[in-house]
């Protein structure tokens, strides 16, 4: 079951920054992987036998670094280097795949033989020229300076400032944990269709967790952000310190939280990260693989009403510097903006090559993989609802008794029956149109094809999240974004403890 998790683990966080040299955008030569073009052509030729419709080789090298702070000191620094290649061949609905972290021509050949296995036919002898066909015009994350030029010391200093800022916010903040993860991926894909495309993909995230204590009452608050931007982003507009204050504020607020209600209620979702609703309720259900297999609750619903007419939802991989954005997807297709639901009517799916071909529908640039070890799947990029016309204050005022949820932990969905959950981490009661007491976290549960029909008001205040989402599907994690204006859902089940 796929799900979206705001990766704020109190335990520990993965790593990050890059230190390979930055290539000029979108031109990554095979030499980067110590290979010659001829060797790549030979491997592609080996896999491209008659029964194989399509084959590709994906090369990746990623350097990650993580620096983390707890108990007032920056005590951990972790670096990892991963490189390898994945070879894939498709024949009809069949996919053969192999990967290796050795990039020798011999390893590529072994991988090619394995991938070809599914075609069940002898080795071909027609060489496939890998011509350089330029793709895409996006340059969504130009970095003037490689993230690796940022000295470890600068990150250490920033984490120390975050610790002080969070503690200064309120003396009841007793623990502060923060980490900076930077990640630099260089990818290159060569296909039997003659495509050769590469990209350099920077990514970073800063996250802060605070624990507040008052007597025996202990509460937690988390916040963070990031994307495909330069490190200076965290200094601009005092963002890093604002993250620290926000995490502290949530922890302090929860000291006074009362039990959440249980049962069906009207719920107002705040703008931004609550867009996780869309990711779970409709996004996964509109990924082409589940629809080709007809195992999605949305199968066969194209052209039908799946939401109220105030809802228009898009998946857009072309937003500059966002966490979910990409110049090209992992099959070399330029990313696009895809309308999923327009005025409440289901319009389209998001696709990768295999599913677009089998379903006879357009490529949307959503073929993504976690790394060279993983198979491409149709995945979301940045998924959000377009702004409406309502005043956010009017939306709150319209509710007599309900819940106002502004921040969430994670969510999950069962594609087949469409049931999804997402769990509030900051929410309030609405009483007679007024936002009153904070309530403890509660899970909201609904049915994907039904819940958006309950959306009766959409605010004009569309916001995207701060850059923290990681989506999980078939064991693969990829960075994504979500967004939402303030909306009113007339009825949804709230899983609190209070009757």
């Amino acid at each position: 079951m796929p799900g979206l998790v705001k990766r704020f683990s109190l335990a520990q966080i993965l790593m990050v920054v890059l230190s390979v040299e930055i290539m000029s955008e979108q031109v990554v030569p095979f030499e980067h992987f110590a290979l010659e073009e001829r060797e790549v052509e030979q491997a592609l030729a080996r896999v491209h036998v008659r029964a194989v419709d399509y084959a590709d080789i994906y090369f990746e090298s990623t350097i990650s670094e993580s620096v983390s702070m707890e108990e007032g000191i920056v005590k951990r620094a972790v670096k990892s280097i991963a490189q390898g290649a994945g070879v894939r061949a498709t024949a009809g609905e069949k996919t053969g795949f192999a990967y290796s972290d050795d990039l020798s021509p011999r390893d590529l050949e072994i991988a090619a033989d394995t991938a070809r296995y599914i075609a069940d036919s002898p080795q071909g002898d027609v060489p496939v020229p890998v011509t350089h066909r330029p793709v895409g015009t996006h340059n969504l994350y130009p970095l003037e300076q490689p993230l690796t030029d940022v000295a470890t010391q600068e990150r250490v200093d920033l984490l120390n400032l975050i610790d002080q800022e969070a503690r200064r916010y309120d003396p009841r903040i007793t623990k502060v944990m923060a980490s900076i993860n930077t990640n630099h991926k260089v990818m290159l894909v060569a296909t039997t269709e003659g495509l050769r495309a590469g990209d350099v993909q920077p990514l970073s995230r800063l996250q802060v967790t605070c624990i507040a204590e008052e007597g025996s009452n202990r509460q937690v608050g988390t916040f963070g952000g990031g994307g495909r931007m330069a490190f200076s982003y965290y200094h601009e507009q005092d963002r890093a310190l604002a993250y620290a204050r926000e995490a502290a504020r949530q922890a302090i607020l929860n000291l006074d939280a009362v039990d959440a209600p249980a049962g069906i209620l009207p719920v107002v979702l705040g703008s931004g990260w609550p867009g996780i609703l869309l990711h779970e309720a409709v996004g996964h259900g509109l990924e082409a693989d589940f629809n080709r297999k007809k195992t999605s609750a949305f199968s066969n619903l194209i052209g039908q009403r799946v939401a109220s007419d105030v809802c228009t939802i898009v998946d857009d991989g072309t937003l500059p510097a966002r966490r979910g954005s990409l110049n090209i997807d992992d099959e070399g297709t330029p990313t696009t903006r895809t309308v999923l639901i327009e005025d409440g009517i289901l319009r389209g799916y998001i696709t990768d090559r295999l599913n677009a071909r089998l379903m006879g529908i357009p490529l949307t640039g959503n073929g993504r993989r976690e790394d060279f070890r993983s198979l491409v799947l149709p995945r979301m990029t940045n998924t959000f609802m377009l702004a409406g016309t309502s005043e956010p204050e009017d939306i709150l005022r319209s509710v007599k008794k309900g819940l106002y949820a502004v921040s969430f932990g994670g969510g999950q969905v069962d594609i087949t029956n469409g049931k999804f959950v997402f769990s509030a981490s900051e929410a309030y009661l609405i009483e007679d149109g007024q936002v009153t007491k904070p309530v403890k976290g509660a899970t909201l549960i609904g049915s994907g094809p039904d819940v958006l029909k309950q959306v009766s008001m959409v605010g004009h205040d569309l916001q995207l999240d701060s850059g923290i989402g990681t989506c999980g599907k078939e064991g693969q994690s990829v960075p994504v974004g979500v967004g939402l204006p303030t909306i009113r859902i007339d009825e949804i089940t709230v899983g609190g403890t209070s009757a």
Binding site: L10, V78, K94, D101, D102, R218, V220, L375, Q412, T443
Partner: protein
């Protein structure tokens, strides 16, 4: 495909020599390699076949009380030289941490017991395809409404790991894993919609995998019984977790008693050591040296011997799960639960963690409930480990007068983990190890079910 133990050991020892030459005071090195095969079949045809070879090495260095870690999959001379230099530079950038360091030399494992974790059987691709096809066919044959499938998957993998440190420890062990799972889809009448469920078998030995037909039939039965699921009213009732969902209670317990959660103040069980947190009949054991089990290993991620640790003894919280670092933070010795991903700092994880079985059969537990919820699936992340507040999506069956009356979905169950552990009223006699966490059926006295 494997390198010989000697090649891996020599590499690890050689790396220890390299980092020593950089003037480290302490260090450890992990080298791992593995092979895997995964076959996915859908509606009888091969959907995906994937094969992989992987290797990775990680180093952790200490300069006094400063430390850093790094890993790479590139074993070339140039890469290793760079890695060692970068890691040493990184260590000098972080602050001193008084608690850091390797375990005491005297605590290191002195031998590597054979826990029977490795089966050298290789599964040919044709056999994996056949096993997956048989399991899926058995599922689809159960009922004419079983017309679709997410597929059946048969995986096998094996790997070896070497851990070496500057105390002179050099441990090697290898293990294998075989698994088969099936996820059929049933299409009901128009108002019933579709349902999907699954079943699986997993083991360290090829011959211990359950028979594909029986896995397929179980998956089909679990899927069919969900047809026509509905919501129930919001109410406070007894809740029974089936063995699969009951394991999640052990998962929450494991994070709450992890030394890292405790010293960070991020556990709802803070300050509860030695106190009763459950009724007398509740016993939870962690045991890393059970032969052949999925959570067993001959030494932990720091090279300490694994062992048996009682977490709950007659309801009393008797031990935490610790590695060296978190143990020192709490003034205690490691329990041999250090877990390592290559090139990262140790963290704590359970080995084989399980409830001791009770005397009651699952049927009797269900019969003991007049009105309640029998939970077979949980979704979402609605658990706050700091406060224990719990609210998750659930599906399962409504119990009426001691019988499973009809399937339920789109409801939440909510409470607080502290209370839920106090409220474990019955533990079944149906303990089966199907993973690192294993639980019999358990009954919780009462939780809030959120529905319509």
């Amino acid at each position: 495909m494997h390198e010989s133990p000697e090649v891996l050991k020599t590499l690890a020892a050689e790396l220890i020599g390299r980092v020593k030459a950089h003037g480290v005071t302490e260090a450890d090195v992990m080298v791992a390699e593995g092979d895997s095969l995964s076959v996915q079949v859908r509606l009888a045809a091969v959907d995906r076949l994937s094969k992989a070879r992987e290797k990775s090495l990680g180093i952790r260095v200490f300069f006094g009380k400063r430390s850093a870690s790094a890993s790479t999959s590139d074993f070339s001379e140039a890469s290793l030289k760079q890695l060692v230099a970068d890691t040493c530079a990184l260590a000098k950038a972080v602050a001193e941490d008084e608690t850091s360091g390797l375990p005491e030399q005297a605590a290191m494992a002195t031998g590597v017991p054979d826990l029977d974790l490795y089966d050298p059987t290789t599964m040919p691709v044709e056999e994996a395809i056949d096993v997956a096809q048989r399991a899926e066919r058995a599922a689809l044959d159960v009922d004419p409404r079983m017309t679709n499938s997410e597929g059946a998957e048969c995986d096998s993998s094996s790997g070896a790991v070497v851990l070496a440190n500057t105390h002179g420890f050099l441990g090697y062990h290898r293990s294998s894993r075989f698994s088969l799972s099936v996820a059929p889809v049933v299409e009901g009448s128009d108002d019933q919609g579709m349902q999907r469920d699954y079943w699986y078998t997993v083991s360290r030995k090829r011959h211990e995998l359950e028979d594909p037909e029986s896995v397929g039939r179980t998956a089909a039965e679990r899927t069919l019984r969900r047809l026509g699921a509905r919501k129930v009213g919001t109410q406070r009732v007894p809740v029974i977790f089936d063995p699969e969902t009951a394991c999640s209670m052990l998962g929450h317990l494991a994070s709450a008693v992890s030394g890292y959660s405790l010293y960070k103040g991020a556990s709802f069980l803070l300050g509860q050591l030695g106190k009763p947190i459950a009724l007398q009949h509740v016993n939870v054991e962690d045991n890393g040296c059970l032969p052949g089990k999925l959570g067993s290993r001959p030494f932990d991620g720091e090279g300490l011997p694994t062992r048996k640790t009682m977490i709950l003894e007659h309801g009393v919280l008797s031990n935490y799960l610790l590695d060296t670092y978190s143990g020192r933070k709490l003034g205690m010795a490691s329990t041999g639960n250090a877990s390592r991903s290559i090139g990262d700092n140790p963290t704590v994880s359970p080995s084989n963690l399980f409830f001791h079985p009770g005397e009651t059969s699952p049927g009797e537990i269900i019969q003991s409930v007049t009105q309640g919820l029998y939970v077979t699936e949980l979704i979402g992340f609605g658990v706050n480990m700091v406060t224990g507040d719990y609210s998750r999506g659930a599906s399962g069956f409504w119990i009426e007068n001691g019988e499973l009356a009809y399937p339920v979905e789109e409801v939440t169950i909510a409470g607080n983990l502290k209370q839920m552990f106090q409220d474990i009223e019955s533990i079944g006699n149906d303990l089966v190890f199907r993973g690192k966490l294993a639980s019999p059926t358990i009954r919780i006295r009462e939780m809030m079910v959120g529905g319509h």
